[in-house]
């Protein structure tokens, strides 16, 4: 009840000057949009950077111990995989080949960097259902599956389209769904056999080893056995760890993640300053009235609660406007950058928390002025 009374009073103070309140809410909304945009980019980059890793469908993934992320191109000898096949509990251990190269736009011939993935057609261990659908076609020479979410610069591509990949003529037999990221404009998928036809590709140099454990075997146990067999030669991770590693590399080490993370903090800081300015003016305008509230015997915490409620209402109003604006902006950005801009519930809640946080922080700062008012000055 007490809370409600404070809230109502705070609302009346703000609503008494609707023009002012609308402007203030717009100021907060501005900060909300900045935060949403930065968070959107941050997540877009992260989401995009793990788009390939998330498709891995093996139980374990074997990589070179010095490989920091999937784009580093550090390979290990196929020979190790053959040894891993002998480890008890391992059912399958197959190589997955990747290579960055250029795709020629079939319409204008422009070259664009894509990631080429060479898979075992019988057991791809990738969550790409189209491999099975187009299995027969992919066994033919110079055939590929093309990424339907690849950037527009890669041209209009449909089944039957012919173009050049790494300088070799290829034919698109079907489309699959993956999307671009900051490293690649799109993905192209083909059989291991066709992959080996590309320049400078050797079957003995493996990028990723995909391991399936035998039915009933514990994945951790098998992983320990592989590590015992090849303690220094390889690193064994789960697909989940690979995804985490990719995400970490993007957000913590790659400049893009740092830039947008910093942007988020800057948005928060701008919001706090804007909010402080608004609340400071609000408080200054009401100072004699607040002093009167103190004079007639309301406790200091009554005023504190009043100002913090004002801050809260301001943040909610600003958030609402900012959220709607950001939704429109996300749609626009996704279209423009082909980055995955997902406005998920946890992200919406995060920005709401940040917005409330910045307004309350600003309110806390503005409070100092309120607490310093001397009701004795009223006489």
């Amino acid at each position: 009840m007490w809370f409600f009374r404070q809230f109502l009073l705070a609302w009346r103070l703000l609503a008494d000057r609707p023009g002012n309140f609308a402007l203030s809410a717009l100021g907060v909304a501005f900060a909300v949009v900045i935060m949403f945009t930065e968070l959107g980019f941050l997540n877009g980059v992260t989401d995009s950077s793990i788009n390939f890793a998330r498709r891995l469908d093996s139980d374990l993934v074997v990589v070179h111990p010095q490989q920091e992320h999937l784009k580093s191109g550090v390979e290990f000898p196929l020979f190790y995989l053959q040894q891993i096949r002998d480890v008890p509990g391992v059912a399958v251990a197959l190589p997955l080949y990747t290579s960055a190269n250029y795709w020629a736009n079939p319409q204008d011939g422009g070259r664009n960097r894509v990631l080429i993935i060479g898979v075992d057609l019988d057991n791809p261990m990738l969550r790409v259902p189209q491999i099975a659908t187009y299995g027969a076609e992919l066994r033919g020479a110079d055939t590929v599956l093309f990424d339907r979410l690849a950037r527009e610069e890669l041209g209009q591509v449909a089944p039957g389209t012919r173009s050049r990949l790494a300088g070799r003529p290829v034919r698109v037999v079907g489309l699959f769904t993956l999307g671009p990221n900051f490293a690649y404009e799109g993905h192209v998928l083909m059989s291991t056999r066709n992959f080996m036809q590309l320049p400078n590709q050797f079957a003995k140099d493996v990028d990723l080893g995909l391991v399936r454990v035998a039915a009933g075997e514990d994945i951790e146990t098998v992983r320990r056995r592989i590590r015992e067999r090849l303690p220094t030669q390889v690193e064994v991770l789960t697909p989940r760890e690979i995804v985490q590693r990719e995400s970490d590399v993007t957000t913590r080490k790659a400049p893009v993640g740092i830039v947008f993370g910093l942007g988020l903090i800057v948005g928060f800081a701008i919001g706090t300053v804007v909010c402080y300015q608004i609340l400071f003016n609000e408080v200054s305008d009401h100072l004699p009235q607040f002093a009167m509230i103190k004079a007639i015997g309301h406790l200091p915490r009554f005023l504190s609660a009043l100002v913090l409620h004002e801050a809260l209402i301001l943040s909610l109003g600003g958030y609402l406007v900012g959220f709607l604006a950001s939704r429109g902006l996300y749609a626009l950005l996704q279209k423009q950058t082909a980055l995955l801009m997902d406005l998920t519930l946890p992200r919406a809640v995060l920005v709401l928390a940040l917005t409330s946080g910045m307004c309350l922080l600003a309110g806390r700062l503005a409070l100092r002025k309120v607490q310093a008012t001397d009701p004795a000055d009223l006489f």
Binding site: L9, H286, I296, A376, F379
Partner: protein, 369 residues
């Protein structure tokens, strides 16, 4: 006039000094002030701006901490209260500020409720009490108006309603009627009088509005941080009315009369006591404010009652004017209350007004020697 019943003390100011600023800029605003206000008393404070009356008001209202001396409000010492105790103390004080400082986001009723919310009143009562109080200040037709839609006088009345709605036992007001027309001013003053009479609240009003002086029981004048006069208004008026009948003072202006009245001291006598004795040196002038006394002249062995003095009479001036011994004895027939003026003050007042001879002859003429 009855001085017998001692009344409960509402506000007691003793030895209060107050300073503003620090170090070199430190300036004393109040100097050793003493003031006692009783239950049900309305005290008007006057004095030039900067005389310290507002400072004294804020000290009594616990809006400032007491630095030196003691202030007790209904027996509670204010010196040394914590900030929180000060705030709680203020809940029993009705403040009427010169600048009304209503919350402009709230309507009249909501503004008054801001004060009611500080009490334990049941929520259901809030609106009823607010409306009743606003009705009492003549604003029942403006309950839902916001301050910006009210005239300055109406705003002031809302502020007064807010100050009085909890029937505070102390009311501190700064120019409460400055923004009001004659009728609303009188109305507000009547409300204050009612609160003082019915609830026994002590009311202090800082004002220069002489239209409301008559509501006061006392008028306190401050100059340069000192209380220079403390006039009991009704007594003073009664004394002035009596003085007016005395030929010596007859032509004096009201302010001169008030000055003299202020210098008079109250003296009471039991029935049968002798107030002045024939043959003694005259040292005082008496005004009889209550009771009856007999004038007796002794000549030789014979004692002769020459007159009976009733309330509203005066005596003792002839000996002072002539610088002679008393020419008669005055005895109290009933319990008598008098106000006395010392010979020194009496002569000073007389000299300041007219030439001494003129006074003397006029007075002697009237008394027939």
């Amino acid at each position: 006039m009855n001085h017998a019943a001692p009344r409960e003390v509402a506000i007691e100011v003793a030895g209060v000094n107050h300073h503003y600023g620090k170090g070199e800029a430190r300036k004393q605003a109040l100097f050793d002030n003493h003031l006692t206000i009783h239950r049900g008393e309305i005290v008007i404070m006057t004095g030039p701006s900067g005389s310290g009356k507002t400072t004294l008001l804020t000290l009594i209202g616990t809006l400032r901490g007491v630095q030196e001396g003691s202030i007790k409000v209904w027996g509670r010492e204010l010196a040394g209260l914590s900030a929180l105790e000060q705030v709680k103390m203020r809940r029993d004080i009705g403040f009427i500020f010169q600048a009304h400082n209503l919350l402009d986001a709230l309507n009249a009723r909501q503004n008054v409720r801001m004060a009611i919310e500080l009490t334990d009143a049941p929520r259901a009562e809030f609106d009823r009490r607010a409306d009743a109080m606003l009705d009492a200040v003549g604003l029942s037709h403006r309950l839902t108006y916001k301050p910006r839609n009210l005239s300055i006088g109406q705003r002031q009345r809302v502020a007064i309603a807010r100050a009085l709605v909890n029937q505070p036992r102390v009311v501190l007001a700064d120019e409460p009627t400055a923004a009001l027309d004659k009728e609303s001013g009188a109305n507000v003053v009547a409300l204050l009088r009612k609160l003082a009479d019915e609830r026994g609240s002590a009311v202090m009003i800082v004002t220069h509005d002489n239209r409301i002086l008559n509501v006061a029981d006392r008028i306190v004048n401050m100059v340069d941080g000192h209380i220079v006069s403390d006039i009991r208004l009704k007594e003073t008026m009664a004394i002035c009315a009596i003085l007016k009948k005395c030929a010596v003072f007859k032509d004096m202006s009201p302010s001169d009369l008030t000055d003299i009245a202020q210098k008079m001291r109250s003296e009471d006598f039991a029935a049968g006591t002798t107030i002045i004795r024939q043959g003694d040196t005259g040292d005082k002038f008496y005004v009889l404010a209550g009771g009856e006394a007999q004038v007796v002249i002794e000549s030789g062995r014979e004692t002769r009652g020459v007159a009976t003095l009733k309330e509203g009479s005066f005596f003792g001036e002839v000996a002072l004017l002539r610088d002679q011994p008393r020419n008669a004895t005055v005895q109290a027939l009933t319990p008598v209350s008098t106000f006395t003026l010392s010979k020194e003050n009496f002569l000073a007042a007389v000299k300041a007004h007219k030439s001494f001879d003129e006074q003397l002859s006029a007075q002697l003429f009237h008394r027939g020697g």
